[in-house]
Protein backbone atom coordinates (compact mmCIF):
# COMPACT_ATOMS: atom_id res chain seq x y z
CA UNK A 1 0.00 0.00 0.00
CA UNK A 2 1.37 3.39 -0.81
CA UNK A 3 -0.19 6.82 -1.17
CA UNK A 4 -3.63 6.10 0.26
CA UNK A 5 -2.33 4.23 3.28
CA UNK A 6 -4.32 5.42 6.26
CA UNK A 7 -2.79 5.93 9.68
CA UNK A 8 -2.88 2.90 11.93
CA UNK A 9 -2.52 2.94 15.66
CA UNK A 10 0.45 1.60 17.57
CA UNK A 11 -0.88 -0.61 20.29
CA UNK A 12 0.52 -0.89 23.82
CA UNK A 13 2.19 -4.26 23.23
CA UNK A 14 4.00 -2.83 20.21
CA UNK A 15 5.36 0.02 22.31
CA UNK A 16 6.58 -2.44 24.94
CA UNK A 17 8.32 -4.54 22.29
CA UNK A 18 9.78 -1.51 20.52
CA UNK A 19 11.02 0.19 23.69
CA UNK A 20 12.82 -2.96 24.80
CA UNK A 21 14.62 -3.23 21.46
CA UNK A 22 15.51 0.45 21.39
CA UNK A 23 16.86 0.17 24.96
CA UNK A 24 19.04 -2.78 23.90
CA UNK A 25 20.54 -0.88 20.98
CA UNK A 26 20.96 2.22 23.14
CA UNK A 27 22.80 0.14 25.75
CA UNK A 28 25.47 -0.83 23.23
CA UNK A 29 26.33 2.83 22.65
CA UNK A 30 26.07 3.86 26.30
CA UNK A 31 28.21 0.95 27.56
CA UNK A 32 30.94 2.00 25.12
CA UNK A 33 30.78 5.58 26.42
CA UNK A 34 30.77 4.33 30.02
CA UNK A 35 33.89 2.24 29.45
CA UNK A 36 35.62 5.31 28.03
CA UNK A 37 34.83 7.47 31.06
CA UNK A 38 33.00 5.78 33.95
CA UNK A 39 32.64 9.02 35.93
CA UNK A 40 30.37 10.98 33.60
CA UNK A 41 27.08 11.44 35.49
CA UNK A 42 24.93 11.75 32.35
CA UNK A 43 26.30 8.50 30.94
CA UNK A 44 25.81 6.78 34.29
CA UNK A 45 22.19 7.95 34.35
CA UNK A 46 21.62 6.81 30.77
CA UNK A 47 23.20 3.42 31.50
CA UNK A 48 21.08 2.90 34.61
CA UNK A 49 17.92 4.04 32.85
CA UNK A 50 18.41 1.83 29.80
CA UNK A 51 19.39 -1.24 31.86
CA UNK A 52 16.29 -0.83 34.00
CA UNK A 53 14.02 -0.21 31.00
CA UNK A 54 15.36 -3.27 29.18
CA UNK A 55 15.21 -5.36 32.34
CA UNK A 56 11.68 -4.52 33.51
CA UNK A 57 10.27 -5.04 30.00
CA UNK A 58 12.11 -8.38 29.86
CA UNK A 59 10.54 -9.39 33.16
CA UNK A 60 7.14 -8.39 31.76
CA UNK A 61 7.69 -10.78 28.83
CA UNK A 62 8.82 -13.58 31.13
CA UNK A 63 5.77 -13.16 33.36
CA UNK A 64 3.55 -13.65 30.29
CA UNK A 65 5.73 -16.52 29.03
CA UNK A 66 5.22 -18.45 32.25
CA UNK A 67 1.48 -18.15 32.16
CA UNK A 68 -0.03 -14.79 33.15
CA UNK A 69 -2.74 -14.12 30.58
CA UNK A 70 -1.98 -11.64 27.83
CA UNK A 71 -5.19 -9.87 28.85
CA UNK A 72 -3.08 -8.24 31.56
CA UNK A 73 -0.36 -7.07 29.20
CA UNK A 74 -1.30 -3.38 29.29
CA UNK A 75 -1.37 -3.28 33.08
CA UNK A 76 1.91 -5.19 33.16
CA UNK A 77 3.47 -2.62 30.83
CA UNK A 78 2.38 0.20 33.11
CA UNK A 79 3.62 -1.63 36.22
CA UNK A 80 6.94 -2.39 34.53
CA UNK A 81 7.46 1.29 33.67
CA UNK A 82 6.51 2.39 37.19
CA UNK A 83 8.85 -0.20 38.70
CA UNK A 84 11.63 1.03 36.40
CA UNK A 85 11.12 4.67 37.43
CA UNK A 86 10.99 3.71 41.13
CA UNK A 87 14.16 1.61 40.84
CA UNK A 88 15.93 4.42 38.98
CA UNK A 89 15.06 6.91 41.73
CA UNK A 90 16.15 4.43 44.40
CA UNK A 91 19.52 3.63 42.82
CA UNK A 92 20.25 7.20 41.74
CA UNK A 93 19.51 9.05 44.92
CA UNK A 94 20.87 6.44 47.34
CA UNK A 95 23.95 5.46 45.34
CA UNK A 96 26.88 4.51 47.48
CA UNK A 97 29.64 6.59 45.88
Amino acid sequence: MGSAEAWRDTKTGMWAWLLQRVAAVGLLAVIALHLKNPFLRTVQAALLGLVLLHGVLGIRSIVMDVGLSARWHRLLFLLALLAGVAAFALFWYWRWY
Binding site: M1, A4, K11, M64, D65, A70
Partner: protein, 238 residues
Protein backbone atom coordinates in the same frame (compact mmCIF):
# COMPACT_ATOMS: atom_id res chain seq x y z
CA UNK B 1 -20.07 12.98 9.14
CA UNK B 2 -17.20 12.38 6.74
CA UNK B 3 -16.28 8.85 5.77
CA UNK B 4 -12.84 8.41 4.20
CA UNK B 5 -12.85 5.07 2.43
CA UNK B 6 -9.94 3.25 0.83
CA UNK B 7 -10.62 2.63 -2.85
CA UNK B 8 -8.69 0.45 -5.21
CA UNK B 9 -9.46 -1.92 -8.05
CA UNK B 10 -7.42 -3.58 -10.79
CA UNK B 11 -6.01 -0.87 -13.04
CA UNK B 12 -6.97 1.89 -10.61
CA UNK B 13 -4.76 4.10 -8.47
CA UNK B 14 -5.41 3.60 -4.77
CA UNK B 15 -6.93 6.55 -2.95
CA UNK B 16 -8.99 7.56 0.05
CA UNK B 17 -12.38 8.76 -1.14
CA UNK B 18 -14.51 11.08 0.93
CA UNK B 19 -18.23 10.58 1.40
CA UNK B 20 -20.64 12.68 3.44
CA UNK B 21 -23.18 10.65 5.40
CA UNK B 22 -25.84 12.00 7.75
CA UNK B 23 -25.09 10.29 11.05
CA UNK B 24 -28.13 9.05 12.92
CA UNK B 25 -28.47 7.69 16.41
CA UNK B 26 -27.42 4.06 16.62
CA UNK B 27 -25.76 4.17 13.20
CA UNK B 28 -22.83 1.79 12.68
CA UNK B 29 -19.92 2.07 10.26
CA UNK B 30 -21.54 -0.72 8.22
CA UNK B 31 -24.81 1.27 8.06
CA UNK B 32 -22.84 4.26 6.77
CA UNK B 33 -21.10 2.15 4.10
CA UNK B 34 -24.41 0.61 3.00
CA UNK B 35 -25.90 4.09 2.76
CA UNK B 36 -23.03 5.19 0.51
CA UNK B 37 -23.42 2.10 -1.67
CA UNK B 38 -27.18 2.52 -2.00
CA UNK B 39 -26.86 6.23 -2.64
CA UNK B 40 -23.98 8.17 -4.11
CA UNK B 41 -21.61 5.33 -5.00
CA UNK B 42 -22.96 1.89 -5.96
CA UNK B 43 -19.45 0.85 -7.06
CA UNK B 44 -18.10 0.75 -3.49
CA UNK B 45 -17.21 -2.86 -2.62
CA UNK B 46 -17.20 -4.31 0.89
CA UNK B 47 -18.16 -7.60 2.48
CA UNK B 48 -20.80 -8.31 5.10
CA UNK B 49 -23.32 -11.03 5.88
CA UNK B 50 -25.07 -11.30 9.25
CA UNK B 51 -24.97 -7.60 10.28
CA UNK B 52 -25.26 -8.57 13.95
CA UNK B 53 -21.71 -9.39 15.03
CA UNK B 54 -21.68 -13.13 14.53
CA UNK B 55 -20.06 -13.99 11.20
CA UNK B 56 -17.03 -11.66 11.18
CA UNK B 57 -17.33 -10.93 7.43
CA UNK B 58 -17.25 -7.15 7.91
CA UNK B 59 -13.82 -7.01 9.58
CA UNK B 60 -12.08 -3.78 8.51
CA UNK B 61 -9.53 -1.33 9.78
CA UNK B 62 -11.53 1.58 11.15
CA UNK B 63 -9.59 4.60 12.38
CA UNK B 64 -6.42 2.53 12.39
CA UNK B 65 -7.78 -0.41 14.35
CA UNK B 66 -9.28 -3.72 13.30
CA UNK B 67 -13.01 -3.83 14.14
CA UNK B 68 -16.19 -5.32 12.77
CA UNK B 69 -18.08 -2.60 10.95
CA UNK B 70 -21.50 -3.90 12.02
CA UNK B 71 -20.71 -3.53 15.74
CA UNK B 72 -18.85 -0.23 15.57
CA UNK B 73 -21.21 2.61 16.42
CA UNK B 74 -20.22 5.94 14.92
CA UNK B 75 -20.97 7.51 18.30
CA UNK B 76 -18.17 5.46 19.92
CA UNK B 77 -15.52 6.88 17.56
CA UNK B 78 -13.73 10.17 18.17
CA UNK B 79 -15.24 13.22 16.46
CA UNK B 80 -13.91 13.92 12.98
CA UNK B 81 -13.63 11.92 9.76
CA UNK B 82 -13.87 8.13 10.05
CA UNK B 83 -11.22 6.33 8.02
CA UNK B 84 -11.98 2.85 6.73
CA UNK B 85 -9.49 0.60 4.97
CA UNK B 86 -9.27 -3.13 4.23
CA UNK B 87 -7.59 -5.62 6.56
CA UNK B 88 -3.80 -5.71 6.41
CA UNK B 89 -1.75 -8.79 5.49
CA UNK B 90 -4.33 -10.18 3.03
CA UNK B 91 -4.28 -9.89 -0.76
CA UNK B 92 -6.56 -7.04 -1.81
CA UNK B 93 -9.35 -7.86 -4.25
CA UNK B 94 -11.04 -4.49 -4.45
CA UNK B 95 -11.85 -1.52 -2.18
CA UNK B 96 -12.50 -2.99 1.27
CA UNK B 97 -12.64 -6.62 0.12
CA UNK B 98 -9.66 -8.86 0.78
CA UNK B 99 -8.97 -12.45 -0.16
CA UNK B 100 -9.35 -14.58 2.98
CA UNK B 101 -7.63 -17.63 1.40
CA UNK B 102 -4.41 -17.21 3.47
CA UNK B 103 -6.39 -18.08 6.63
CA UNK B 104 -7.09 -21.54 5.19
CA UNK B 105 -3.70 -22.04 3.55
CA UNK B 106 -1.86 -21.17 6.78
CA UNK B 107 -4.04 -23.59 8.72
CA UNK B 108 -3.27 -26.37 6.24
CA UNK B 109 0.45 -25.51 6.34
CA UNK B 110 0.51 -25.86 10.14
CA UNK B 111 -1.64 -29.01 10.06
CA UNK B 112 -4.31 -27.13 11.98
CA UNK B 113 -6.92 -29.69 11.01
CA UNK B 114 -8.35 -32.48 13.13
CA UNK B 115 -6.73 -35.87 12.57
CA UNK B 116 -8.70 -38.63 14.29
CA UNK B 117 -6.54 -40.55 16.74
CA UNK B 118 -7.10 -43.83 18.56
CA UNK B 119 -9.33 -42.15 21.17
CA UNK B 120 -11.51 -40.47 18.55
CA UNK B 121 -13.76 -43.47 18.03
CA UNK B 122 -13.60 -45.04 21.47
CA UNK B 123 -16.50 -47.35 22.32
CA UNK B 124 -17.64 -47.43 18.72
CA UNK B 125 -18.93 -43.83 18.77
CA UNK B 126 -17.17 -40.47 18.89
CA UNK B 127 -15.36 -39.98 22.21
CA UNK B 128 -17.10 -37.47 24.45
CA UNK B 129 -15.32 -34.64 26.19
CA UNK B 130 -17.42 -33.27 29.04
CA UNK B 131 -18.31 -29.59 28.84
CA UNK B 132 -16.96 -29.05 32.34
CA UNK B 133 -13.85 -31.19 31.95
CA UNK B 134 -10.39 -29.69 32.40
CA UNK B 135 -9.61 -30.52 28.77
CA UNK B 136 -12.62 -28.63 27.47
CA UNK B 137 -12.19 -25.65 29.80
CA UNK B 138 -8.61 -25.18 28.59
CA UNK B 139 -9.88 -24.40 25.08
CA UNK B 140 -13.24 -22.84 25.96
CA UNK B 141 -12.39 -19.40 24.61
CA UNK B 142 -10.04 -20.50 21.82
CA UNK B 143 -12.61 -22.67 20.01
CA UNK B 144 -14.87 -19.65 19.48
CA UNK B 145 -12.74 -18.32 16.60
CA UNK B 146 -14.93 -17.19 13.68
CA UNK B 147 -12.06 -16.75 11.21
CA UNK B 148 -12.65 -13.04 10.67
CA UNK B 149 -8.93 -12.39 10.06
CA UNK B 150 -8.66 -9.33 12.31
CA UNK B 151 -5.89 -10.93 14.40
CA UNK B 152 -3.90 -11.71 11.26
CA UNK B 153 -4.31 -8.11 10.10
CA UNK B 154 -3.13 -6.71 13.45
CA UNK B 155 -0.11 -9.04 13.73
CA UNK B 156 3.09 -7.23 12.81
CA UNK B 157 4.96 -10.52 12.57
CA UNK B 158 2.67 -11.83 9.82
CA UNK B 159 3.56 -8.71 7.89
CA UNK B 160 7.25 -9.22 8.57
CA UNK B 161 7.57 -12.96 7.92
CA UNK B 162 5.22 -14.45 5.34
CA UNK B 163 6.03 -17.96 6.59
CA UNK B 164 4.77 -17.19 10.09
CA UNK B 165 1.39 -18.95 10.38
CA UNK B 166 -0.12 -16.10 12.38
CA UNK B 167 -2.43 -16.00 15.37
CA UNK B 168 -5.55 -17.60 13.84
CA UNK B 169 -3.77 -20.77 12.66
CA UNK B 170 -1.73 -21.10 15.86
CA UNK B 171 -4.82 -20.62 18.01
CA UNK B 172 -6.42 -23.50 16.09
CA UNK B 173 -3.29 -25.62 16.56
CA UNK B 174 -3.54 -24.95 20.30
CA UNK B 175 -7.10 -26.29 20.46
CA UNK B 176 -6.06 -29.43 18.58
CA UNK B 177 -2.97 -30.02 20.71
CA UNK B 178 -5.24 -29.99 23.79
CA UNK B 179 -7.73 -32.39 22.17
CA UNK B 180 -7.15 -35.94 23.37
CA UNK B 181 -9.10 -37.32 20.39
CA UNK B 182 -6.61 -35.85 17.92
CA UNK B 183 -3.88 -38.13 16.62
CA UNK B 184 -1.35 -35.71 15.15
CA UNK B 185 0.11 -34.07 18.28
CA UNK B 186 3.69 -35.25 17.74
CA UNK B 187 3.75 -34.28 14.08
CA UNK B 188 2.37 -30.81 14.83
CA UNK B 189 4.74 -30.31 17.78
CA UNK B 190 7.72 -30.92 15.54
CA UNK B 191 6.45 -28.38 13.01
CA UNK B 192 5.93 -25.81 15.79
CA UNK B 193 9.67 -25.76 16.55
CA UNK B 194 10.60 -24.38 13.14
CA UNK B 195 12.16 -20.91 13.35
CA UNK B 196 9.20 -19.34 11.54
CA UNK B 197 6.52 -20.61 13.89
CA UNK B 198 6.37 -20.27 17.69
CA UNK B 199 9.65 -18.40 17.98
CA UNK B 200 8.39 -15.72 15.60
CA UNK B 201 5.67 -14.45 17.96
CA UNK B 202 7.03 -11.47 19.87
CA UNK B 203 4.14 -11.32 22.31
CA UNK B 204 2.93 -7.87 21.28
CA UNK B 205 -0.64 -9.11 21.86
CA UNK B 206 -2.09 -7.02 19.04
CA UNK B 207 -4.15 -10.07 18.08
CA UNK B 208 -5.59 -10.28 21.59
CA UNK B 209 -6.36 -6.56 21.60
CA UNK B 210 -8.43 -6.67 18.40
CA UNK B 211 -10.16 -10.07 18.59
CA UNK B 212 -13.91 -9.37 18.45
CA UNK B 213 -14.62 -12.70 20.17
CA UNK B 214 -12.31 -11.76 23.05
CA UNK B 215 -10.09 -14.73 22.37
CA UNK B 216 -6.42 -14.37 23.26
CA UNK B 217 -4.37 -15.97 20.48
CA UNK B 218 -1.28 -14.68 22.32
CA UNK B 219 -2.15 -16.94 25.26
CA UNK B 220 -2.68 -19.87 22.88
CA UNK B 221 0.74 -19.30 21.30
CA UNK B 222 2.47 -18.90 24.67
CA UNK B 223 0.76 -22.09 25.89
CA UNK B 224 2.05 -23.93 22.80
CA UNK B 225 5.52 -22.57 23.54
CA UNK B 226 5.39 -23.80 27.14
CA UNK B 227 4.33 -27.24 25.90
CA UNK B 228 7.19 -27.23 23.37
CA UNK B 229 9.70 -26.38 26.13
CA UNK B 230 8.35 -29.16 28.37
CA UNK B 231 8.71 -31.63 25.51
CA UNK B 232 12.31 -30.50 24.98
CA UNK B 233 12.99 -31.44 28.62
CA UNK B 234 11.30 -34.79 28.13
CA UNK B 235 8.18 -33.87 30.13
CA UNK B 236 4.92 -34.82 28.53
CA UNK B 237 2.54 -31.83 28.80
CA UNK B 238 -0.99 -32.44 30.03
Amino acid sequence: MVLRVFRWGPGMRERLQKYWVRARQGMTVLDALVEVQRGPDPTLAFRYACRVGMCGSCGMVINGRERWACRTLLSTLPRGPVTVRPLYNFPLIRDLVVDMAPIKSKMLATKAVFVPGRRATEDGGFAQIGSNSRERRAVDAAVECIGCGMCVSACTMVGHDRRFPGPAALNRVFTLQRDSRDGAHAERSAAMLSEDVLARCHGQANCTDVCPMEISPTDSILALRRRAVLRLFGVSPR
